[in-house]
């Protein structure tokens, strides 16, 4: 049933579809590449910090870095509902690396006030919505936001990311359906990385492809090689155009792979083979994009190493600083439950403050 998979770069990064090759300014291409390199490094640092007991948890983006392309295809005013492996979109939009590091440490400078698991962050300034942990809930929320844009007559779109596992969730279903019925400007992007923790795609759905699910909602569908930065860009651009034109939402299936463990708590060797991982490592999105950029003279050989070194230094510095900062104080425990603190919370707060020194 599946429509053709969009590929512009082959597994080695050679341009194989010049017709579709998008025209992206070099500065943007470069910035995208930098963001992807940075993501790779954040994974390395993150898991090290977790192993050292300095942060409590790490979520990997490794292998799925091509998602950064969406940030180029979208406008900054477009809303993004991430799942939890889309750090690149926030970073590309200018979310400060310092904020991310402080968030990982859940320290006093963490915008979420030390309340979230590291990696589950959002930023209102960047229209990058704070995700929860329950899988799939953001899909329908994104549809609601898209509807808001529609009835206000804005030229923006609402974009949502979710995994292959999430397609089984209740709110994938409601989210796809509500978006399609109301013809709202929504882009649904499934990062089909073949696994939901230890559950392989074949136990998740019997469909030939996830993109086939679009049909049952009367929605446009596109399938892309999710490790192909250019294909990712083209699909999101097409979907965006369609959405702002008033032609309704699109489901994009990005076929990719979760190269790392699910999270720092996971041991994938229990349930999948090294060979499979190896196979996909060969299709690495950063390597492919790098080759393309070199061919386009956006990058030179050696640039990547320099970049890595630069970010490594910067991250080390930020980490050192972040590690020194204290956590939020006990007096903040009752903030933000409601806009104004009701009396019963004032009483609970008074009680707990007795234990401040413990």
């Amino acid at each position: 049933m599946t429509t053709e998979r969009i590929r512009i770069l082959d597994d080695e990064g050679n341009l194989i579809n010049t017709d579709l090759e998008p025209k992206i300014p070099k500065t943007k291409l470069k910035k995208a590449f930098e963001t992807m390199v940075l993501l790779r490094l954040i994974d390395e640092k993150g898991i090290k910090l977790q192993r050292q007991g300095k942060v409590s948890f790490h979520i990997f983006t490794r292998g799925q870095e091509a998602h950064v392309a969406a940030a180029l295809a979208l406008n900054d005013e477009d809303w993004i509902y991430p799942a939890y492996r889309e750090h690149g979109l926030a970073l590309y939009r200018g979310y400060p690396l310092e904020d991310l590091v402080n968030h990982l440490f859940a320290n006093i400078k963490d915008k979420h006030k030390g309340r979230r698991l590291p990696g589950l962050f959002g930023s209102k300034d960047h229209n990058f919505v704070n995700p929860s942990a329950p899988i799939g809930t953001q899909v329908i929320q994104a549809a609601g936001t898209g509807y808001g844009m529609k009835i206000r007559g804005e030229n923006t779109v609402s974009t949502v990311f979710f995994g292959d596992g999430a397609t089984s969730s209740n709110d994938f279903h409601s989210g796809m359906n509500f978006g399609a019925v109301t013809k709202s400007p929504v882009i649904y992007i499934c990062q089909n990385n073949q696994w939901a923790i230890s559950v392989p795609l074949k136990y998740q759905t019997a469909a030939d492809s996830i993109v086939d699910k679009a049909i049952g909602y009367g929605m446009n569908g596109l399938q892309i090689d999710g490790n192909d930065f250019l294909a990712f860009y083209v699909a999101v651009s097409q979907a965006r155009e369609r959405a702002v034109r008033g032609d309704g939402p699109t489901l994009i299936e990005s076929v990719t792979y979760r190269v790392g463990p699910h999270t720092s708590s996971d041991d994938p060797s229990v349930y999948r083979s090294e060979e499979e991982v190896k196979l996909w490592e060969k299709k690495d999105p950063i390597n492919r994009f790098e080759k393309y950029l070199i061919s386009k003279q956006v990058l030179k050989n050696g640039d990547r190493d320099k970049l890595t070194k630069k970010y490594d230094d910067e991250l080390n510095r930020l980490i050192d600083e972040a590690a020194k900062l204290p956590k939020f104080g006990l007096e903040t425990l009752f903030d933000d439950v409601f806009e104004e603190m009701p009396e019963f919370l004032e009483r609970q707060k008074a009680e707990i403050l007795q234990y401040k020194e413990d």
């Binding site: 809303w79 963490d110 915008k111 979420h112 006030k113 309340r115 979230r116 959002g122 930023s123 209102k124 919505v129 704070n130 929860s132 329950p134 809930t137 899909v139 329908i140 929320q141 994104a142 549809a143 609601g144 936001t145 898209g146 509807y147 808001g148 844009m149 009835i151 206000r152 609402s158 209740n170 709110d171 279903h173 409601s174 989210g175 359906n177 509500f178 019925v181 109301t182 903030d335 933000d336 439950v337 409601f338 806009e339 009701p342 009396e343 019963f344």
Partner: protein, 324 residues
Amino acid sequence: MVDTNIVGAINMALKEEMERDNNVVILGEDIGKDGGVFRATQGLIDKFGRDRVLDTPLSESGIIGFATGLALYGVRAIAEIQFVDFIWPAADQIISEVAKFRYRSGGEYTCPMVIRSPYGGGVKGAHYHSQSPESIFAHTAGLKIVIPSNPFDAKGLLISAIRDSDPVLFLEPKRIYRAFTEEVPEDDYTVPLGKANVVKEGTDLTLVSYGSMLHVTLEAASLAEDEGISCEVIDLRSIVPLDLDTIGMSVMKTGRFISVTEAPKTSGFSAELSALVAENWIEYMEAPILRVTGYDTPFPLTLESFYLPTPKRVLDNIKKSVSF
């Protein structure tokens, strides 16, 4: 002033708020042409159009999640759940998302919205058109829970809820939707959330209730009066935030306490009320702290008049308390 019942008052509040602020949108099943299965949204689609009066697909999870996306974006959404018995598909959106957005984002994202839903028994609705789940949502930090007992409050509380910065679950006592009318101002007024109403003053015993049970409670109080027992009756109006001071003032005066709620007994909101009294004012209490509630069974059909608290059953508990 118009003479209207609770549904009428709700319809007024919705209409006026939608007129006042075109950022207010309502959504739910059958709320458009049909005007809602209880007619609470009657006429609104003609006045405000489908964009702002959205008949949704049959998915409560969708309704609340969609409203959440609207709320985050800055649109004030009022979602209707056709019967609160059908709220469970939306439990994840309400408990995991709506209630926690402000907190989890450190105050960046907020989720002000109203979830309106008819609740409660007494309409021959059986298992799935009769339940009262307020205590479950009261246990969920971040939600306000409002339950009016009369048309005046219904309108004033709903307007407050719509203008509130936090998510509000607004439970409507369907049993008394059309039970009586009263004068309701046509213009803009609010009844504040978190302030109980002492409906009747008394000296011997404190009765606390809300919603449709308030009327059962009042009847019981009047029966008790006939027997020379003076009951103070408090209508909570909202259970989160709760007006603990009003309860405290009353029990310090009366020394006796009974709450009347229709949900199953175990872990119902009556338990919370008993616990609050027992932890704060036990030294004033001259009798057991009692609850008159529904029973721990699924909601019945033919036996619902026994299942629900009756004035007689409340009265017996009043007597038990005063003769302790």
